[in-house]
Amino acid sequence: MQKRQIVLPSAFIRSNFMPLLLAFFLSLITAGCAYKDIDKRAFVMSIGVDPAPEKESEAEDDRRDQDVYEVTLKVAIPTSDIKSGENLFVLFSATGKTIAEAIQKVMPMIEGNLDFSHTKIIFFSKSLAEDVKLRDLIDWFIRMETIQDIALVALAEPTAKDVLSLSPPTERLPANSLFTALDGSGTTAPTIAHSPLIDVYRRLYEPGLDPSLPIVQTVGKKNYKITRAALFDKERLKLILDPEETEWFNFLAGSTSNVTLGDVPKGYFFHVDPNRASSRFTLRQTPQGKLTIVWHLVLNGSIDERQGKPVSDKEKISAEVRRLAEQKTRDLTEKLLQHRLDPLGFGFEYRTRKPHKKDFAAFQKMYPQLQVSVETRTVIYETGNLIR
């Protein structure tokens, strides 16, 4: 019996240090499973989805087998130092019946493993958004765990591939220029709205709140402009606002307060100060039982420029500004009502008062007949360096 006893060899092994050592060796396993070195990854900065080019084929079967999407990935080429204009990148494209399938086809084209954790912008081409449900388009992106939920979504014109291949001379990092423009950390242009992935997905399912996306257009080979907004219902692209409407839409939506109002024949340019402007709406039930959207606008701003023979009275200018703002607000709101689009959340506001589904169905029925009224407060509090 005595001989069969296994006596543990040394004090070292017996000590409490053993488990620590064990844990250390076990932690080495992890190096083998998923951790890839940074130079073995291909960082996808931006993804674009286009409709697949149509194959010229007569047969029914072939047409059914046709790919639906063409996915383009913008993969960054890392450089040792960051310089302006050295935004090196490669584009990879593949087609597939689903977005995931197309991306699977890109994988063999590059030596590194595709890494989506830096994907910050997602482009859908405008023509695709008209044909395919946005819920279907966005599904892969929201489902992937690695893609940031704060990635920005935008529509591209003419195609997503064209927008991805842009390389503005001011850009330092691949895709950084568009990202800075779209997320609002750079330019404060009033026509640019921010639409993170998570917000678009929320709006696709939230009753009484519809999605809207900014449209990025290419200008020449190197530049772009973001001046219009695309409005969706719960399925497809329904309406595209022109630049002036987009600006006002963003102001009403509360995403910018950097708006301008000008009336050239009368010769002034009214610039609303971002810190002193606000817009909000309430719903009001009139005694006749009609529901009214009441806009409360505060437009405190400054006169940036006067041309020609200006109106000298500030009161008159204020009145003019008020009239313009009210007209713009009324026109835009009525346009939204007519198209049965609700990106500003009138229905959402209604649900906070009457949360039950039955009430909301009734609200949707009377949606185009809602009344609009605008209350505006305007103060011209400064006129720049000049007194006039």
């Binding site: 006893q5 296994i6 006596v7 543990l8 092994i13 017996r14 000590s15 409490n16 053993m18 488990p19 064990l22 844990a23 076990l26 932690s27 396993i29 992890t30 499973c33 998923a34 951790y35 954790s117 765990e145 690695t146 940031q148 939920d149 704060i150 950390s185 921010h194 993170p196 998570i198 917000d199 997905y201 929320r202 709006r203 696709l204 399912y205 939230e206 009753p207 709140l209 995403s255 959402f348 506001e349 649900r351 906070t352 008062r353 009457k354 949360p355 039950h356």
Partner: protein, 419 residues
């Protein structure tokens, strides 16, 4: 040990809500009375917690099993303790599986969840076999270091655009009454205190009960915030589309002027850490309760059960101060392997379970099954609390009889009056 350690017992459950299925269960019922469930669970647990802590004052330096040893016959006590051990084991297992699953899914994308699970289980086992007081010290230290990461979420809510707090007004307006499952899920936030049934042997219960009330109120308010944020950020409908709404919420928060733009990674690491602490505490309780099931008397439970000769090594445990709890070095001095194994039988049983069965189950079964399991386990939560409460009441009643006999001389009149 000071009563402040009770805070960490509470916090370990209250703050781990992001990891696990509790938000999902509650958010599934968001249209019918989730908020009522939160309020109901608050009031119910306030009552139960106060009552249990009040009762535990009669049993200083004793854990549940030694309390029951005095008042309940072994035939009843052993099955009861085994039942409790199973409950604690399942609780710990569920949270360690969630930690592995979520870190494989969001933190180390592409890594095998199984490897991660093994690593976490080894860590948990190594920590759970420590002495009770050391577990508490480790808990405090780790918790304090994690806390700033968790508050990142709160800071991030102020810098993130597009949070619609009005969504909560909508859900509150809908009203509705909660069902049992939601009430149980909402109770999970407070349930961390139940570990006091073991840690009572090391924590002094010298504190005023109103501090407990304040603590529970703080948890309630905190959880109202933690529950409402996903709804406000992910939408009243889309919030129910996610497996882990809280992880997605953390991912959607953005701090523009921070070293890392995404608040996601630090916050997730913080929450995973809390969930690991949760597992450690639960499995420590499991281990200690298992140890108390040994037929050997009192603290010298070590080598007698092996039936072998007496060795000098067994005294390491026997010499412990009473207020330190169990725990022992993994490989003790001067033992042969068999004695060593038998001495730490409970630990090796837990280790065998953790390193074979649990990874096997995790590897084979879909995660939805764990969701179902979690739901079922939650349904037993409130009954278990009440069972523990009843046992304590019973024990207090039984021991108060003997206490009265001791005090018989001091108040004989009252007894005659009642008689």
């Amino acid at each position: 040990m000071q009563p402040r350690f009770i805070i960490y017992l509470f916090a370990v459950n209250a703050l781990m809500n992001g990891i696990g299925f509790v938000p999902r269960i509650l958010l599934t019922g968001r249209h019918d009375g989730a908020y009522a469930a939160l309020l109901g669970a608050f009031l119910l647990n306030l009552f139960i917690i106060l009552f249990i802590f009040w009762l535990l004052r009669r049993f200083p330096q004793k854990d549940l099993s030694s309390i029951l040893a005095e008042t309940i016959p072994p035939l009843l006590r052993v099955p009861l303790m085994i039942y409790f051990v199973l409950q604690w084991l399942i609780a710990g297992s569920l949270s360690v599986i969630m930690v592995a699953e979520i870190s494989a899914k969001y933190l180390n994308v592409g890594a095998s969840g199984l490897t991660i699970l093994y690593l976490f289980i080894i860590l948990v086992l190594a920590a759970a076999r420590l002495r009770s007081d050391r577990v508490l010290f480790a808990l405090e230290l780790s918790f304090i270091m994690t806390l700033p990461l968790l508050f990142l979420i709160v800071i991030a809510t102020f810098t993130t655009q597009g949070i619609l707090w009005k969504s909560i007004v909508i859900l509150l307006g809908e009203g509705g009454l909660p069902d049992w499952e939601q009430l149980s899920a909402a109770s999970y936030v407070y349930i961390g205190y139940i570990n006091i049934l073991l840690f009572n042997k090391v924590i002094q219960s010298t504190f005023r009960l109103w501090k407990l009330i304040i603590g529970i109120l703080v948890i309630f308010i905190l959880y109202l915030f933690l529950f409402s944020l996903p709804i406000a950020l992910l939408g009243t409908e889309a919030v129910a589309h996610y497996h882990y709404p809280w992880v997605i919420t953390a991912d959607s928060l953005r701090i523009e002027h921070a070293p890392i733009e995404r608040a996601f990674y630090p916050a997730l690491i913080g929450y995973l850490n809390i969930a690991l602490l949760n597992t450690i505490v639960h499995w420590h309780v499991t281990l200690e309760f298992l140890k108390s099931l040994r037929p050997a008397s009192g603290q010298t439970r070590s080598t007698q059960t092996t039936g072998a000769k007496e060795k000098s090594g067994q005294s390491t445990d026997a010499k412990q101060k009473p207020a330190q709890g169990g725990g022992m070095p993994l490989l003790p001095k001067k033992e042969n392997l068999w004695q060593n194994l038998m001495m730490r039988l409970e630990f090796w049983v837990l280790a065998a379970y953790g390193l074979t069965l649990l990874p096997f189950v995790y590897n084979r079964l879909p995660i939805d099954l764990f969701y179902e399991l979690n739901r079922w386990w939650l349904r037993f939560l409130l009954p278990n609390e009440l069972l523990a409460l009843l046992l304590l009441v019973w024990s207090a009643w039984r021991t108060s009889g003997s206490a009265q006999q001791k005090q018989k001389r001091s108040r004989p009149k009252r007894r005659t009056r009642t008689a």
